[in-house]
Amino acid sequence: MLSAVVLVPLAGAVLVALAGRGSAGLARVLALASSLAAMAVTGVALAGMSGAQGLVERLPAGGEGATWWVLSLDGLAAPLVALTAFLGVISILASWRIERSPAAHLALLLALQAAVAGVFLAAHVLLFYVFWEAVLIPMYFLIGLWGHEDRRHAAMKFFIYTFAGSALMLVGLMMVAFSSASLEFVPGFGLTAGGMADEMRATVFWLLAAGFLVKIPVMGLHTWLPDAHVEAPTAGSIMLAGVLLKMGGYGMIRLAMPVAGEAFASAQPVLVALGIGGIIYGALVALAQSDLKRLVAYSSVSHMGFVVLALGVGTPLALGAAMLVMVSHGLVAGMLFLLVGLLYDRTHTREMDRFGGLGRTLPGWATAFTFAALASLGLPGLSGFPGELVTVLETFGSIGWWAAVAAAGVVLAAAYNLVAVRRVNHGPVAQEWAGTSDLRAGEWAAVAPLAAGIVALGVWPALVVDAAGPVVRALAATIGGGS
């Protein structure tokens, strides 16, 4: 069943690429059917998951070490696997109106979904790396072929940055792989490096973290992100911000931090500093943007700063909050990029100065955008609130009043989100968009589920936190971050 979560979208990609070449309509229907089928098998797999150790699957069936195709689904992976399947459907809907080689575009989206699901499910060091790199290739072509003006540069930058990070990660993985007996992850926990000396663990941690921190991305290693997010087509931005960034946070929790063990203590201050820096820096730069998509991209840097901060704090609650922020950001950023993309389709501009009064000209779009912006700034009751609140509280417990700096990030988030809403939705009506049509039913079909997810996670954050609980408690105990 777990293999099906990877193989169904992959088969769908092949099917769409082969069968959909002649007819765009057929390609769309096949792609949507494939992504819905992937969501269905993901649902079945999630329903079948029980206990802290979750499901484990080997192909071909055999004992440990017989094969490298080892997948597992536990509480840590489950929310992200579900998010991937969900955003997979949304991204297909978001690229419904792509005109340039729609079959290839949709096939690449499905292949991307398969690879990302593989990253979250892989329970073998080598398989993990294989999926990790496999993600790069469809994303490279999605940005490079269907992106905006500066797409070729952005695609190359995206590839080189993440490839450089993952090359160092590969050295770290090799140090683990060739020094421990089992290359498989411990069920319900993650990678372990039994018997490795402490100094060695710290080295391995930083090598692995190099790959993950580029992906999250932390401040300083983030410069690929604005380019890639802005230049990518809408569906690409949704997947990029929605799930690809989460691969970094997931990798930290699943691989880097368990391997570090008690040696993690020396890395904590660095991560906390990087996290707080990212929160403030991302928010300030977002505040300065005039391009709406660029604003959303920098807000991602800020939100992911909360994840890095929470990882650095390393208590069970903080780690649970990191998961919550990641899933929430997947939904919120997905919705924001979708809305910005839908607006761009109509107006062919992202300059906020050229908008104004969209609340009157496009009331449906403006309502959805206001909702997403409120979710992004962390309004209580919506998904952005609980994760960031817990992160700040746990940070307070760990480093005291310095946490106030992180809290300032929440204020800044309110600033840039509300400024964007004011400049786009309110003020004098920009006459050039007077005749523009509002969201259609098909577009609401992509927007509404995201909004529903944001509300659901806002009122019931336990959905993610409880699932991830056993894994993050075990991890926190290993790194000495509390009971």
Partner: protein, 489 residues
């Protein structure tokens, strides 16, 4: 019987080559090409069957083949067969096409015996046979530039031969050993200055043959000017064979004191220099074939990382380097052959990377296959090239030379700058000149732009092998490779 068994694959290849030359002399060039390719394919099959028998085969006190070495020999023959078949259309159009194919077969026959050679006289003869056919193949394009490249290749190769013979003379003469590698290994004692000199000379000679920095300067010209199908063989088959014998010779003959320190230093320096120079040089290239030639320098550097590691852990750990070498050879053969197919599909192509713009649209299957080969050369997972690099660099990590692994992976990142540049050109760049034929030349262009189906099919076949080698290990944990590539001694 066993003695002659060693020569079976070579015999089949030679028979095909001789018959082919006869047919070619009778003006039946297409038949000649088919016969030569069939002989090579038969030789490859024979070698693979011998590998699968899983026993060592010895012959004439000069050869000692184990399954892994038969695999290499079979691969060398197969690569030559792919080159001849892939170049079928171009070779059958060239006046000397039949002769070039026969030369490639002769080169493959010699290169196929090389990995199993034990006697140093046979070693020199085979290496020279490979080199001489190589000079002739580079000159085969019959232009002024290719003459110059072949001359450069010849002169530098002659120096390399001199170093090789001198090194072997030092070993044989000053140590009073026999002529076989095990004899020499026994005679080389601790603290032998002469042996250390021989080591350095041999290393330089092999570095010439492999095109490692700083002995590389013949390579870019040779591979750029040779006919693409022949370049595809030259850059893959002979290189793989020479790597294979180097992987055996250095650890067998020069193990232990006094080589540990200096050997490690020299091999490591050569590896790092090749990786750095090859990758940085590759970034600067505008010509597709030249870019591949520079990338070949870097790839030899990765293989030398493996050789350095083998010095530390010994011969049984040779699977990684064999895998790396094999996967490089296969992917490089595909990438070079693609130049042939590109030229056929667009006669106006000037051989530059930028000139490939739009190839993804014009020839989607070909472009996809080349992309697979280039990603394999970069070392991206799901291609065979990844496992080769993974195991070689992994070996470096475990033997305390992690710095070599770091140089290697960073080199791989840089290499995407030019491999990815070619991919970017094929898919993302718009063709600079729209492919609208001018009024007068319309007919000629339309006639010229015929798809070279055989070259395209050869590249696609190579790409399928590369992907299979990349995916299969996920399900059987490299057992497929270790079964065939492990050296049982």
């Amino acid at each position: 019987m066993s003695d002659w068994m060693v020569l079976l694959p070579t015999g089949l290849v030679l028979a095909g080559a001789v018959l082919g030359l006869t047919l070619d002399a009778g003006e039946r060039r297409r038949a000649a090409l088919v016969v030569i390719a069939a002989g090579l394919a038969a030789g490859a099959t024979a070698a693979f069957v011998l590998a699968a028998r899983d026993t060592a085969v010895l012959g004439f006190d000069a050869f000692g083949f184990v399954p892994a070495l038969w695999m290499i020999a079979g691969l060398v023959h197969a690569l030559a067969a792919v080159a001849v078949l892939g170049g079928y259309r171009a070779l059958s159009a060239a006046p000397n096409g039949g002769q070039m194919a026969a030369l490639a077969a002769l080169s493959a026959a010699a290169a196929g015996l090389l990995p199993g050679v034990v006697d140093i006289v046979a070693l020199v003869i085979l290496l020279e046979a490979v080199a001489l056919t190589g000079y002739a193949l580079v000159a085969g394009a019959r232009g002024r530039r290719s003459d110059e490249a072949a001359m450069k290749y010849f002169i530098q190769g002659a120096v390399a031969t001199g170093l090789l013979v001198y090194a072997l003379a030092v070993l044989y003469g000053t140590l009073g050993s026999g002529l076989s590698l095990p004899d020499i290994a026994r005679a080389v004692g601790p603290g032998d200055r002469a042996a250390l000199t021989a080591f350095a000379l041999l290393l330089a000679a092999f570095a010439f043959k492999l095109g490692a920095f700083p002995f590389h300067s013949w390579a870019p010209d040779a591979y750029e000017t040779a006919p693409p199908s022949m370049a595809s063989f030259l850059a893959s088959g002979p290189k793989l064979a020479v790597l294979a014998i180097a992987f055996i010779m250095f650890p067998v003959v020069f193990s232990g004191e006094p080589f540990d320190g200096p050997a490690l230093w020299m091999l490591g320096a050569l590896a790092v220099a090749s990786i750095v120079f090859g990758n940085l040089g590759g970034l600067k290239q505008t010509s597709y074939a030249r870019m591949l030639a520079y990338s070949g320098i870097a790839q030899v550097g990765y293989a030398l990382v493996g050789l350095t590691v083998m010095h530390l852990v010994g011969l049984p750990n040779s699977v990684p380097v064999y895998l790396l070498g094999s996967m490089y050879a296969v992917a490089a053969a595909g990438a070079f052959l693609a130049a042939q197919a590109f030229r056929a599909s667009d006669p106006a192509w000037d051989g530059t990377i930028a000139g490939l713009a739009g190839a993804g649209k014009r020839r989607p299957l070909l472009a996809a296959a080349v992309t697979v080969c280039l990603l394999s050369l970069t070392g991206i997972p799901l291609t065979g090239g990844f496992w080769g690099k993974f195991l070689v660099f992994g070996g470096a990590v475990t033997t305390g030379t992690a710095w070599l692994a770091v140089v290697g992976v960073l080199g791989s990142v840089v290499s995407f700058g030019y491999y990815g540049g070619a991919i970017r050109a094929m898919y993302l760049d718009e063709p600079r000149v729209p492919p609208v034929p001018a009024a007068g030349a319309g007919e000629a262009t339309a006639e010229g732009a015929v798809a070279d189906r055989t070259a395209e099919a050869a590249v696609v076949a190579v790409a399928l092998v590369v992907v299979a080698a990349g995916v299969l290990p996920l399900f059987d944990g490299l057992r497929f490779f270790t079964r065939f590539l492990a050296l049982p001694f």
